[in-house]
Symmetry: D2
Subunit: 399 residues, 4 copies
């Protein structure tokens, strides 16, 4: 086996990516959802779908869950855990939902109404309990909070409310729990967002306590912003918690990882593996998918996502760090640059197929999934259940 | 009365702005809608709301309608017209809807399936009939068509389908009908949008026929794009059909006109009034609002919008064109620039209040509306009707 | 005198803005400079120009200087100070230059070559001495450092070099000296910039010591970024050092303050005055101009800039904070927003003219400057001196 | 030989890319130039450098020239042609320069002063004569014209002046001459640019005459704009004249082709080859490089550029059009997308090396160039000539 293949195999052994339960249900844009018979209805469906993704890709062993959608009040947590085990997956990051209820119209932890702030905090604290009950390590916090009009909000006052709410959330953590603080420049708030960029997430995380880290959603940046630099800085500051991967061209488009700019994902992976090579602990980074599968088949797109991620992770594993460092120190720009380009130009697909074969997986997960008949069966079964329960998909556009 | 006040009064006499029926119902983002008891349920409610806006502002005499939402199959068009008359408004631009039905998942006029293309065309042709039945002059076409992934679509083939569909739509027009062709760079399509910018709308309009014009939605541009230049060019090419006004900071945020960058709206209005002063026919431009009122009270925000528009239109009316032209020809930059700044710095609110008083309107439409008790009454009435009909607001977020 | 006028007069009493020496000499874009006879040649010319700006505006008492351009080796610092005094101005922020020499091709404090890093540090330490010699309080650091190609540089290694260099620079400060750390996303580095955003400047400043603060150049942001929120956060963190004001539509266009988006400058000023009203110390903020006057007359544009700044500062002073806070707490969006809009819509020019008259200034500084004949005289004098010295303006485009 | 290799060889046979004479001399940003001893001084040097690039890459047979810099008044055109022949290259696109002279401070064809407009037109007409004298087919027009401040210019008046100037320029063309009209959204004009986007270039080209085409500079777009869609539309309208290739992350960064987003260049090449496959004439498209080599060795970077272009062109040649079209018609998104991804993932470097060997070229042009000692020799020679002529590189930053 070539040294190159060997590097790829080792790199893939160390790379898993978590899929989100909400990626298996019907989603869409504010202009509408396009429904699929095979879309998951229940948490059982979602875990089944996640299980099938892991069965065919071998790199998606955990599932991020949305507290509100997946764990309704009084649900049997142990039953959910058994279902997960049955499908060969485990519960990953716990995502509270403090944006959907009508109460959150003007914010959650940043709401001027103390009762709403308390309600939001309570839900987060409950989520920490769920985290402990499901043996998850990650509390994943995203806030829609912000304002749409200049003057609407007292930006500094809201910063303080956030600092307080996050500190209290953090206090409930224990052991090696991690609180992930996500940032996003806009949407659904269109004038200011309380945690609008990595600098804000960094400050609030630092002030919350030692278990807080920044979560990088690749779609939550300004046009042209250098995401890999942010990743490198956060790693150096020991403040990188994890990722929500997706690709975009315009705003938070939530497209398939790497479908628009694969070289950028490669560079992010490169910064991480380079940091690992230099001795940083990169084992605790949570790699997660956060996409909106409105047009493609949901399980198919998730498999495609995992395959894209593996391809780009494998390419990044081929960078020759000694050579790169030498050229960087000598300011040999073209040669340094070509260290990255050579790795990116290499066709790593055969080595990845070999990795799959060694694990007893089909070399082409997408083909194998299609051959399995899973989607057809799920579509038939779920459509029937919807009919039986009188569920009508639709009427969900935002206008 | 000062010459300045006189200019403002005359300018306001020539400025109306159309409000959209969909701005009175519940709308939101893909993360959710926040419901209001006073939100309109039926077309009657919407016309009533539009009527009240016009009654207090005096500059919103027409209402843009969405064919699908406002004119369901077999509705009594004459009854709608009577309702409109009763509320003191008339039907404005007719907006077909070829994006909402599940059939349109992969496009309407640009769909690879000829049956879907025919369905979309049929709906547009029906909309032209509705236009004639309602004595509206404007067919307002916005297409969500596009693709989300590189390779998904044959861009050129879709261009041809669009050229064909628009030509056939145009053929159904008559007299002084106008077909407005809107462009938008992204959302809900995130890789390519078939009519993505003003150049594309221009080409397709030119190729459709003499009754086609470009519609400028102020929120449908790239970051930093000079909208007033596009407006000036379209005017010069006799291809400016009208506007969808709203403001934004990031994407198509659909905020209140002028709330983020009032000077830009002022400059757009300046280019139009300047063209009028030079002799261009600017009387047929359709000024329309297209906003998403998720947080503010819907009627209140519409009134605020009309007031903002009047304020900025009045400021633009104060530019001294002779002086401006002289400084421009002599490349006296600071003096030319200050012609615009002086107009913008002027407080035009007293003159606008005078205009209102001369029309028998309250000088502060927002205050007068609030004093009228309309919203409280509408909220009570509509909430009761929702209860009676078993309508549950909600469950409409896109996830 | 109305209460409103009184607020404006008080606000103007507390607002000065520093002009940059380099704004009086010939500048341009990479496509060329357009020369002006009246452009300053020497530091004496620049101080004379700055003095005239202050004489007519009354709000520009200090001048930012560029160490390399204004204080060549062995220059007589005391003579410069005497000249400044003669022209009625004082020396403001000291700006080292570690980007112009050929040595800095691959960086200054971030250069892989330790000799270059030492050279850059030495220049900065020398600048601190100059700062003390000139009794300036502000060391203003901008670094062009970064890379143009993926792989060119070790981002994390350069971060460490910067942390070290800034710490050593900070160690040389004393008393109430302030070290301003500026950020910029791109240009002249086009792949990554070592201090690329406010988060990076914040981290490096925090790690340097208690005399380090972040400098906000309004042109150094991503498209659509909410600058006033950054300002508000930095103020709350006691980390806002000052501003480089200019306006832009696209990149770092370095246009006249407020010429493109005056409402944004107003909102920045509002956040500062609001913080002051809440009790924050805002007296030490350094307001500076950093523009590139390629087309307009340099002194004229600087006067226009100061006038724009005063107008927007005065408008911001009119916000009713009690009312605003009340509406914000009650989530009365339209009313809260209108607190800002009402202040912005007010014509503050008469009150500013009054402020000028009370100080013995002409109510229209631009008109008075033009009437003074200063520019004509400077042009004649400087053209003659250029001829005498054999200086040929030009040949300076970047191609 | 595999079918795949065969496709690549054929594709490379049909792909040449022109290098610019100005890419061999010293260039920089407004913050400074970093000088290289080996930078070309004269047109002879530039043709020599271009010749060496072609000798090693085999795909750069022509050189774009800047009239002002390369053909000073009274230069011996035939001598230049002989020099070009000697170095194995020919003269490509002729680029007039109507932005550098002080007269053009407020524009060229759009200048309010008729004398300046005439001067600019005269220079362009002279350039057409030069074009005929050098047997070039392409007149390549880029205008810096625009304004920096709202109100500075009469946008519509300038549009008319441009229409007139371009028509007169076009009238001077003959035979199969092509007039390329370039667009650029900003820089050096920062408020409006007279030919700001492809729509404006399209309209002006259409109105000029049948020999006018649009020139696409890949760096001249808004953030996130879909360039390949513009290319596809222009091709379909028979209005695509050619390209200025370079890459960027932020503004018009003028970096090496494909260094930031190689997948985007691939997609542009794909749209072109797809159009060719469908029967469009794509043979007359002018592929040109327009980059600013401030940090890398100029000849080295040009060779790297040509190699990048070949790699991405070869990848694009591997798309299976039949398969792609089938999946597109069936709306099989993942499969359609994967047609592009499979081509892009393929390592085409071995096939390109084979193509080189078959032409007697070294498989690694960069390595071969370095081994040739050309740069060292040029540096020594040119440094000596600079010394002899008393030329001092430097003093060229824009401040």
């Amino acid at each position: 086996m070539s040294k190159q293949t060997d590097r790829i195999l080792k790199a893939l052994d160390q790379f898993n990516i978590e899929t989100p339960s909400w990626g298996y249900g019907d989603t869409g844009t504010r202009f509408g959802k396009f429904f699929q018979d095979a879309a998951a209805i229940t948490i059982d469906d979602k875990l089944s779908d996640a299980g099938i993704v892991h069965r065919f890709t071998g790199c998606c062993p955990s599932v991020a869950v949305h507290v509100l959608w997946d764990f309704p009040p009084k649900c049997d947590i142990n039953a959910v855990l058994r279902t997960a085990r049955k499908h060969g997956v485990r519960i990953g990051a716990i995502n509270p939902n403090v944006f959907q209820a009508q109460d959150y119209k003007f914010g959650s932890l940043g709401n001027p109404d103390p009762a709403v702030r308390r309600k939001a905090l309570r839900h987060i604290l409950d989520s920490v309990e769920l985290m402990h009950a499901t043996k998850s390590r990650f509390l994943s916090l995203w806030f829609a909070d912000g304002s749409c009009y200049p003057g609407q909000s007292d930006i500094v006052q809201r910063k303080e409310w956030f600092a307080e709410g996050l500190r209290k959330s953090h206090d409930k953590l224990r052991g090696n729990d991690i609180m992930l603080v996500e940032y996003k420049p806009f949407e659904p708030a269109f004038y200011h967002t309380d945690i609008g960029d990595w600098g804000m997430a960094y400050i609030l995380s630092r002030q919350s306590g030692k278990r807080a880290r920044v979560l990088v959603d690749t779609g939550h940046h300004y046009q042209s912003q250098n995401i890999e630099q942010i990743v490198a800085w956060l790693l150096d500051e020991n403040m990188l918690g994890g990722f929500h991967f997706n690709d975009r061209r315009y705003a938070d488009d939530d497209l398939t990882l790497g479908c628009i700019d694969p070289y950028q994902v490669f560079r992010i992976f490169h910064e991480i593996q380079l940091a690992g090579w230099k001795g940083k602990n990169i084992r605790d980074i949570a790699y997660m998918v956060d996409q909106c599968h409105n047009l493609k088949g949901k399980v198919e797109e998730t498999i495609q996502t995992a395959m894209n991620a593996q391809e780009l992770w494998a390419k990044a594993a081929l960078v020759d760090y000694d050579k790169l460092g030498r050229h960087q120190m000598r300011c040999e720009l073209i040669d340094a640059e070509n260290c990255l380009r050579a790795a990116f130009s290499t066709d790593v697909r055969p080595a990845i197929e070999l990795w799959r074969r060694k694990r007893g997986l089909h070399p082409d997960p997408l083909k194998a999934f299609r051959a399995s008949g899973y989607e057809r069966k799920a579509a038939k079964d779920r459509a029937a259940r919807r009919r039986a329960a009188g569920i009508v998909q639709g009427k969900s556009f935002a206008f």
